[in-house]
Symmetry: C2
Subunit: 461 residues, 2 copies
């Protein structure tokens, strides 16, 4: 076993440039003929294996594992809504989202999985090699062993291995371990396929295809380097490629960015208390589900799931079903020839550390019927004629039912004051530096990092 | 106002090499003639301004500010003691520990303060320019304005600005903002003095002189660079200087270190619940204080404080009074000519994120009369003939009464397996990389980083 000698960032960049027919549509269609998943709505009070806890009304699995649905009481003085209570998923276990990589003919390939999840709007999606909660792999499921899991529990060569947060509006401090592990050779099982990063980048523009877990892991894989410099085709892509280069100038130094994050985290007086699901003032338990009295935000619903083909299984579970399709957008601008991303320091009640870096715009426009104000930059995003990326992608289908967001990258001439309390211009390389560490970049921004990288021209294969 | 053009790391290294008579002893003696602090023990139930909360027995200030003394219930399955309960200080406010720096005759100087704290065993200690809790600077104290605070609330040029943890055995998720801010010129008030980093390094070998808050801030200031290369005097200091150089080889890459931290944090099943101070099974309220039934670990005690000279003040407060003098040691070894530090991944109940990097040895030997096992490497540290640094230093005198630890740097030939679950060899530069971010390096290790740097030969001034 010999370690590869090329610079890892260069190898990633090289794989980003390699494309060629992936024939993923035909492969998925073939699998979908044989593998199926049926999802029916069910009353939260009648989910097999789940209990409504006496007293609190919390939803919990009879084993005490997986997750619970509880509530949060949130105080955020000075915010447009300074106090609220809401249901929340509490899943303290840290799962593994892992992708195996290997070189095939000198080019890095990722082992991607075609996977059904009950919340997926369209069936199979391109997923990481492994998506496993701790309950998955410690046998609470009593299902089959998770394929390839052993490569992440005793890894050969770790490429990345970092805990990152998930949706802080729906999860209480949920964190998953994002891993990329290199292997010399493993068998390609049915339902798995080796793809280059360039092939995956092409799939990013297909609606609801590359799943959230794949996006977050791939976003953590830094891919700048000299290989990319050969890829630029026009002013926009030149600026994008330079944005991934650590040698390019940036509006703010990384030290200043870190100081800004410290300032925001220090001065945001977020107070969060966990509480019982029963008795939330603005939330109604009706018709077997829990919904906001306005009909906005999200509901907690129950589903009964049956799956067949690869493995036969049946289970029930609660899920979060959001209202409407969200808008998640980066406004970007070339500054001194280097593309910069207008970044928002966003506070969500479920974050482990108060505030994370978020897209310029992240909202569900429908909800603003029920909320004061209108999100900054939303109207520019929705009316711009300079849209570089615009694809609807799904959020995690294991916990969210039909949760879809429109991911957008939009060029702008807008600016913010250099000392704006909540916005800064960052380069792609600065994102990559921060993504080496936990809890700086939120899950929506991580997806957008991948969307943005997918705009680097390919086709050298 | 022009930004300095020299590389900041080089400027720090240069200041580390500049020494010369600081005449600190005479300066402190002169101040001590005029400034005094009297500390008397007092019954916890009779502290002016403090209340024993009915029901919980928690100690709280009548304003609800400053801090409370509560309890933690801790579960750590697999540990020698898998469950315990203990008193804990809960201080959710993030304070500022700030040092002003400026160039004098081209050399960076730090504005250090001579400061009394009730817990100091010996009176005045060398402290940061500013040590302020949020209650301090939002007027709850009703005392005088904190001198120089405005430079940290609206900083001119931020050099470092990062939240770091404090003692996780005594504090529940306490974090302070460690700041260094550069100014062009400010007045040197009485009780403050400009010192080079080299002068402070010389003071590190004086017992109980450089206080904990000064140590943690200065440890976060990276000081490698080419300037240091001229400083080496023998094999040990050559290896030490190379350890601060990012270009030197290291046993593990930073990515592997981060993956190891992810692994430990993921698989340590620490569960911590806050609870009432009253009714802790192994803790006795007796004679106006709360002590462990064995007499070990620490007590919660009350003090009445009177201060005069600079400002007249009187107050009462609870404090933590530990038993015995601790041993806090780095075992170090040159590997391929680069000094490496044997680093322990330590779990403490009050950490915000489960586990931090800690000294090779961190314990109070007396407590092992009450605990199973003997700390790994303790006997080697206590019997070694290759001791490079050995000074007793105090912990924060605002919360801890007479808390002292013997800080040691000891050369070793010991080794650990490359995949030891809890130990890794790190270079000084890797510590500096991790110190750019929050909650990787614990407060004891931060002090030792400064002790280790103080061994770099000086004398170019």
């Amino acid at each position: 076993m010999s370690a590869p000698t090329r610079n890892p960032v260069e190898r990633v960049a090289d794989s980003m440039l390699h494309t060629g027919p992936a024939e993923v549509a035909g492969w998925l269609a073939g699998l979908a003929d044989r593998w199926w998943m049926r999802v029916e709505r069910a009353d939260l009070g009648e989910l097999a294996g789940w209990q409504v806890e006496p007293g609190t009304g919390n939803l919990r699995h009879h084993t005490g594992k997986f997750f619970t649905v509880e509530s949060l009481s949130v105080d955020l003085p000075g915010a447009p809504v300074p106090h609220w209570r809401q249901p929340i998923i509490n899943q303290p276990e840290i799962g593994i989202l892992g992708i195996l990589v290997r070189e095939i003919d000198g080019v890095l390939h990722c082992l991607m999985q075609a996977k059904h999840e009950p919340g997926n709007p369209n069936g199979l999606q391109i997923s990481p090699t492994v998506q496993a909660t701790r309950s998955n792999y410690t046998g609470v499921h009593q299902g089959k062993a998770v394929p390839y899991l052993e490569h992440f529990r005793s890894p050969e060569r770790v490429v990345i291995d970092i805990r990152q947060s998930e949706q802080g509006a729906w999860f209480y401090r949920k964190r998953n371990r994002n891993m990329v592990v290199e292997v010399d050779a493993v068998e390609e099982r049915e339902g798995f396929r080796w793809l280059t990063l360039g092939q995956i980048a092409e799939l990013m523009s297909v609606p609801d295809l590359v799943n959230m877990d794949a996006r977050t892991v791939l976003a953590c894989l830094p891919g700048g380097g000299a290989a990319l410099a050969r890829a630029a085709a026009d002013d926009f892509t030149s600026a994008l490629v330079r944005s991934a280069d650590p040698a390019s100038p940036s509006v703010h130094g990384l030290g200043d960015i870190l100081s800004w994050i410290t300032e925001v985290r220090t001065h945001t007086d977020l107070r969060v208390e966990r509480g019982p699901l029963a008795g939330l003032p603005d939330w109604l338990y009706d018709d077997g589900r829990i919904a906001h009295r306005t009909g906005g935000f999200f509901s907690v619903v129950g589903v009964r799931v049956e799956a067949g083909g690869r493995e036969v299984a049946a289970w029930s579970q609660p899920m979060v079903e959001p209202v409407g399709t969200g808008v998640i957008a980066f406004l970007v601008k070339a500054i001194d020839g280097v593309l910069h991303i207008l970044t928002h320091a966003r506070t969500e009640p479920g974050y482990a550390d108060v505030t994370e870096l978020a897209p310029t715009v992240q909202c569900v426009p429908e909800n603003y019927a029920h909320l004061p104000g209108r999100p900054r930059f939303l109207d520019e995003v929705l009316t711009s004629s300079r849209v570089r990326f615009d694809t609807v992608l799904s959020e995690e289908g294991g916990r969210f039912l039909g949760a879809r967001n429109r991911y957008m990258v939009v060029e702008t001439d807008a600016d913010v004051a250099p000392d704006d309390p909540r916005y800064r211009w960052l380069t792609l390389h600065q994102y990559e530096e921060l993504l080496r560490h936990s809890f700086y970049v939120n899950i929506q921004a991580r997806s957008l990092v991948l969307c943005l990288r997918s705009l680097i021209p390919r086709g050298r294969a």
